[in-house]
């Protein structure tokens, strides 16, 4: 009966402004009825030329610029650049500063995963977990505000240490937050994890095979959901991560549901790391290094990388040895690779799944566009 009917493909533009809250990303979807045949991402709407800006700023001034590279995990951006510069210049960081860095990084990871959780639920129609996640995030941001003064772009982890020491009320407040955080994550799981509607929307959707993940350079929780056990905090430890006991959750299905499970578990693991860091931290010590205005690291190039909440975040810094400004700063973010793999994942799925897949990969556009 359908031989006489003519069908044709049509294109839907999932425009740069769309209610899926991952930033300005545009997809041109070619569809056959409800099923997607191909998807072409169009990026560049959030390009701010950060790499070029860094070429005209001194190393200390690059840190606030790096904040904006991925503003959901601003501490990680600071950290990766500070690591690169410290490697170039051969600087040591004091013990207490290292512990403070780890505490801030893991708290930032929790905050970033809370954004991911809220927006994933929001994209799928559950409007309540978004508000709950942001309520917890407010507590984390209050901790950051009392330490460095800002809630999103911290400029806290500096070359050689951190900007200032934590105020005395930080640790009691942090412990208070950690004590109630586990119960809140249980709440988040109760409303979504076993919910049959949520499972039906996420199971076997967007299956990423391990070979495809490695070929595209996907990293972070999306890679671990496909069965590849790779976490830079354990495989290539930077800072003092080798002193903490934590697990790396790995799953083997590679669908959206597994990526969800892994990030929920990672929130819990980060809370564990923060507790251990607070216990082990030396009670006193200096945490800041005053970098002169004429700081010129010796000639060289370095690529340093860390495990961000969205995968491997890396920065490549090249210095000439006789200028105060880096010659080249290249930033690498995990979301770029995950956006690259999206057209493969959405083939054959329905249009409502595009949103679910993008949410589960945790792509945010500042990392893609820089």
């Amino acid at each position: 009966m359908t031989e006489g009917l003519r069908t044709e493909e049509f294109q839907v533009n999932m425009g740069p402004h769309h209610p899926s809250t991952h930033g300005v990303c545009r997809f041109i979807l070619t569809m056959d009825g409800e099923v997607i045949i191909s998807a072409e991402p169009v990026i560049g709407y959030l390009h701010r030329a950060l790499e070029k800006i860094c070429e005209n700023r001194t190393y200390v001034q690059c840190i606030p610029v790096m904040d904006r590279f991925e503003y959901c995990t601003s501490m990680s951006c600071n950290q990766v650049f500070a690591l690169a510069t410290e490697k170039l210049a051969g600087m040591e960081v004091s013990e207490r500063a290292e512990y403070l860095r780890v505490i801030m990084l893991e708290l930032n990871r929790i905050a970033s995963h809370l954004i991911w959780y809220g927006t994933t639920a929001l994209d799928l129609g559950a409007l309540t977990p978004f508000l709950w996640a942001f309520r917890e995030r407010e507590d984390v941001l209050d901790l950051f505000e009392m330490t460095c003064g800002q809630r999103l772009t911290y400029n806290y982890i500096r070359i050689g240490g951190v900007a200032r020491d934590i105020p005395p009320e930080f640790i009691p407040k942090c412990m208070e937050f950690l004590d109630k955080f586990d119960a809140k994550v249980d709440d988040y799981e109760a409303i979504l994890t076993e919910n049959p509607i949520f499972v039906a929307r996420n199971k076997d959707i967007g299956v990423l095979t391990p070979e495809m993940a490695v070929a595209y350079g996907v990293s972070g929780p999306s890679l671990r959901a496909s069965g590849v056990r790779h976490d830079l905090r354990k495989d290539d430890p930077y800072s003092i991560y080798d002193r903490f006991k934590f697990n790396i959750p790995v799953r083997h299905n590679g669908d959206c549901l597994d990526r969800y499970y892994i990030r929920i578990q990672e929130m819990r693991e980060s809370a564990k790391i923060v507790r251990q860091a607070i216990e082990q931290m030396p009670k006193e010590g200096d945490v800041t290094k005053r970098i002169s205005a004429n700081f010129k690291p010796p000639k060289g190039e370095v690529y340093s990388r860390i495990e961000n909440s969205r995968g491997e975040m890396g920065v490549y810094v090249q210095s000439t040895g006789d200028t105060k400004k880096p010659l080249r700063v290249k930033m690498r973010g995990g979301s770029y690779n995950q956006l690259q793999v999206m057209p493969e994942l959405v083939k054959g799925h329905k249009i409502a799944d595009v949103v679910a897949i993008m949410a589960s990969l945790d792509i945010i556009m500042p990392e893609v566009d820089r």
Binding site: G125, L127, N195, A200, K350, A352, V354
Partner: protein, 347 residues
């Protein structure tokens, strides 16, 4: 404190003025219609605000707060805002179809209230095919959805309209079959008879195991889908890429669709309360108070669902209805028929 007496008195006064009977009846019907319309307008106003307050409670925030004490004037503010918006009709739209779609949606949702018993003797007209009339009128919304989708002359609105029409029609069937189970037991299509057969609390159809709770759950799920609410709100969700049927509507026409949705929610709650929860039956308080309590209770359940669950994809939605709800509803109907015939649980 029954208020039926007031209306009886007013009717007698009107009849005593000596007008011909047909005029008396006509005036009485018009007055009744106006009263019901006014009541429902107020209810819609309350429901819009209540939805926002309930969602705020669940999300631990405040909701509307500044417009009036705790935001009670918020809906009035929203209505004024919608009224003063420009009424845009797209140039290429099919004008009569575009114009009549919200009118039909609005009219259909009010026309149902002819047969709903608000309390003891408080019903505009006790048709002996009451529930059949109601189920038939609620189907009018499908026409208005299709008209809205077609009249907008926008491929996304058309797709959205067809999807929501498909959704409503698919969930009508299990709803009707679930309601049939109750009708089989009550033995009558008249709403008043159905309420009166639930005189004691253990006679409420929701408690008549095992067919009662199953019929109630099927009814609730189907009613959520009928009124386009989460988890079945694909047509209205902003996160879905294909926009809904009301994408080209603005101003008062949009307000009509919006109000129609809330009044529909009240309607299905009222029907659910009448069929399953005993209508206006209850001790101590006047009957209309019981009716309102039960109906608003069911409205709260619908709102609770909306703010807890994510939404289903369109194909999952259709699959759920045809492959799961409908066979369950049929099995339930057979069970109810057998129970009535064999006399079990027949108190």
């Amino acid at each position: 404190m029954e208020i039926a007496g007031i209306f009886v008195y007013l009717y007698e006064q009107l009849a005593a003025t000596g007008l011909p009977q047909v005029w008396v009846d006509l005036i009485a019907l018009v007055v009744a219609g106006v009263i019901v319309f006014g009541f429902l307008a107020v209810v819609a106003l309350i429901l819009v605000l209540w939805e926002r307050k309930v969602s705020a409670q669940i999300q631990q925030r405040l909701g509307p707060w500044y417009t009036g004490w705790h935001g009670w004037r918020q809906t009035i503010a929203d209505a004024v805002k919608l009224l003063q918006k420009e009424d845009i009709t797209p140039v290429t739209a099919d004008r009569p179809v575009f114009f009549w779609a919200p009118v039909i949606a609005f009219t259909a949702c009010f026309a149902v209230y002819v047969c709903i018993p608000f309390g003891k003797d408080l019903i505009v007209s006790d048709l002996n095919i009451g529930i059949l009339f109601i189920l038939a009128i609620t189907t009018f919304t499908v026409i208005s959805l299709l008209m809205a989708g077609w009249g907008s002359n926008n491929k996304y609105a058309l797709l959205g309209g067809m999807r929501s029409a498909a959704q409503v029609v698919s969930y009508e069937v299990p709803m009707v079959v679930a309601v049939l189970a109750v009708i089989v037991f009550a033995g009558s299509l008249s709403m008043v008879d159905i309420v009166e057969s639930q005189a004691m609390i253990y006679q409420w159809y929701i408690f008549r195991l095992p067919f009662g709770p199953i019929a109630f759950i099927i009814y609730i799920i189907a009613a959520t889908a009928e009124t386009n609410r989460t988890p079945f709100d694909i047509p209205e969700a902003e996160q879905e890429l294909v926009a809904g049927f009301n994408v080209e509507y603005s101003g008062m026409k949009f307000a009509m669709f919006f109000l129609a949705e809330f009044v529909n929610m009240f309607t299905v709650s009222a029907i659910g309360a009448t069929l399953f929860l005993g209508g206006w039956q209850g001790p101590f308080l006047p009957s209309w108070v019981w009716f309102l309590i039960k109906t608003f209770g069911l409205v709260f359940v619908f709102m609770w669902f909306r703010w807890t669950y994510p939404r289903l994809r369109v194909d999952q939605l259709m699959e759920f209805s045809w492959k799961f709800l409908l066979p369950l509803a049929f099995a339930n109907l057979i069970l109810a028929g057998w129970m009535k015939y064999s006399g079990w649980f027949n108190w």
